[in-house]
Point group: C3
Chain length 292, copies 3
């Protein structure tokens, strides 16, 4: 069923990943073999050990973020908070990809109510992750464009596998990252790097990302989660309440900005994405995917 | 005609350039020979090729920014926007100098109306250049102090020839860079570097400028424009509308700040510059120039 | 007299310095021999030479900041301003320590009036130092945690002796640096480094501090003051009025923020520090010191 195939593979940032992911998309079987995780009912595989939770995103083939995925992620983050977990490692259960970002099918010929819920849930995920009382470490085990990059940037620390790419590449697809994506990157790499990266829609290699501070450490293939656990052990030693208050001193102004403009941001997104030109461009892109 | 000579050579930032420019100023003939451009009626030589415009500043001897120059630059920037040009390369037609900055004669014993128009036009140039929908690349082919540095910093990308100097050196002349000069530098090199550079009035060598991110690339003498064209070809591939919106997300707050304070800023400048002490200092400086 | 001993050695940030300072604290005699300064009536030794003042902090054993020390520092800073001094070098007269930060005894079982005066005086010291019209250079001759780090960061330039440590390590002690500590660090090393350093309470080695821009230069043991004098000679050449105005353009927003919230900040501190949990933790810490 072609539409279903498109539905499962399309993703806002996929276009820029085509070359990198060629092997993955062409060979689903190989992909499944490489995965060491067993099939899960939901999109997230959550394991907890000594108050440290690991969320492995597991929505084939590229962890594209649709409404159901975001809802599950938001609820899981809330649950971990309530369970007084101390740390969270966010990673992917799929090979070569962390997350390909927002699911383009949520934005193509959308129904208004679902579209608004989709965006609102994305906001909720960010608010919860960026302001999380837990120590949050992204184990970026594969490519991480657009929304995948946002998830990474919202954590407290980023460890990336070598030879992948990461960045807010929305501009290259003809769309614009929302202001809170921009703010989140700004808080990590500063004004100049953000301005240039956003204008060009730059996808950085792991090493380039390290050199501008977009990630904090680069490790070998398959080593991100172990490295994250080791790093986590240092962070959870710090008195939690003081650490959380310190974190919020730095992040609260950025969080407050979205909270104050949540509705405006939804309206802006819904208006922008349903413009004729934007819809036509997405239609042509999806058409090109079907032909493959 | 001494006064005319002074008029043509004086410039706010010239003092710090005296040593570097010694050869240029002493030998006008050599300077003309080096220039490959023919005489132009205006102060700007504008050429356009494949939607990429090049503005070569051509006001001998040091591209000092007086009211007429700034008016021509403002109108040219407006015209290129209206012509739907995609890119702009800003460079100098003169050897060894990009621009020496504001013309000190606009500020010495000024008539109030012209003084206010001068400053207002400088604001307009900055607002138009910093917020330009075009991709803007500075090909910094020579020294670039004060106002010359501001023009460079307002572009999207900076390529500088080796062995020159660049910086906001106003402090060294006993004056103070206006807040929007400061904001523009802040957005490129951050708070700490801006604070130190502004306090000390630092002129950075090309290599130093590269190391703190004040320029993005350093190339050999005479290679800035070619390098700018090559860089430009990457930028104009990006979907223009999305790129412009992304740029404005980063720059609009800084632009809005001046727009809101335009009149206050003119009043402040007019009051500061006409103070007895400041006028006396400028008088003595001009006197010292005449004696040469 | 045990309590007096505790009083003289306790300091908010001391805990993290225990290993580094072991030798110092165990051997008061050795410490005195190393000091080349003679006994002073106050806590500060102030010398002035060619309009450059040097304040050597001299409150044994670790220059902990209590109300009397802060009052003397505030008055001294005011006096140097009134005397039209051009430059200030802030250093320590004690070996191996710049300042260990706020005196914990000011915060343990405090009388409300003194507690509020203590905090208000700390605010005054920072407002005066951060906004000082003088060129201010920190000659960081030893460890510089918490409040010691704040004093350093409030200067215009930082020269640190090798093989010591510096940082805002409040989080490690279970408390939280006030917002203006955070702002001051933010203005030096940017958002990302501040966020990480504050969350972890990181104490940076001299070389690490240099690599992230927390200090500007690292020199050998005993060379900080000479290096500061040499650096100072460059800064005082700059026209003073223009330099001061430039400095204030960068620092005034941060200063205005505390001025506007001075009372709120005192109330917040007084409420936070007198909480049962915080008091108990301090009590246990002081108890552990007495037993040594």
């Amino acid at each position: 069923y072609t539409v279903e195939f498109v539905k499962s593979t399309s993703s806002m940032a996929l276009v820029s990943l085509r070359r990198c992911l060629g092997a993955v998309l062409k060979n689903g079987a190989a992909m499944v073999q490489t995965r060491s995780y067993s099939a899960a009912s939901g999109y997230l595989k959550v394991t907890t050990e000594n108050d440290i939770a690991t969320i492995a995103m597991d929505k084939k083939p590229v962890n594209s973020l649709n409404l159901e995925f975001l809802t599950e992620l938001s609820l899981t983050l809330e649950k971990l908070e309530n369970e007084k977990c101390k740390g969270l490692i966010l990673t992917s259960a799929l090979p070569k990809i962390f997350s390909a970002g927002l699911d383009i099918l949520e934005m193509y010929q959308p129904k208004e109510e679902r579209l608004r819920q989709f965006w609102s849930t994305l906001q909720d995920v960010w608010l919860r992750l960026y302001g999380s009382p837990l120590v949050t470490i992204a184990a970026i085990s594969g490519h991480s464009p657009a929304g995948g990059c946002l998830l990474s940037l919202s954590c407290d620390y980023r460890i990336m596998a070598d030879n992948y790419t990461i960045g807010l590449n929305e501009t290259k697809l003809g769309i614009v990252a929302p202001f809170w994506f921009v703010d989140t990157m700004h808080n990590v790499v500063g004004h100049r790097q953000t301005e240039m990266a956003l204008q060009l829609g730059t996808m950085f290699s792991s090493q380039e990302a390290l050199s501008i501070g977009l990630v904090d450490r680069v490790v070998g293939e398959g080593e991100t989660v172990d490295a994250a656990k080791k790093e986590m052990s240092q962070w959870v030693k710090i008195p939690g309440y003081a650490r959380q208050l310190s974190k919020m001193q730095l992040r609260k102004p950025t969080i407050d900005k979205l909270v104050a403009r949540k509705e405006d941001d939804i309206n802006y997104f819904a208006t922008f994405i349903t413009k004729d030109g934007v819809q036509k461009a997405m239609g042509m892109y999806l058409e090109s995917l079907k032909k493959k």
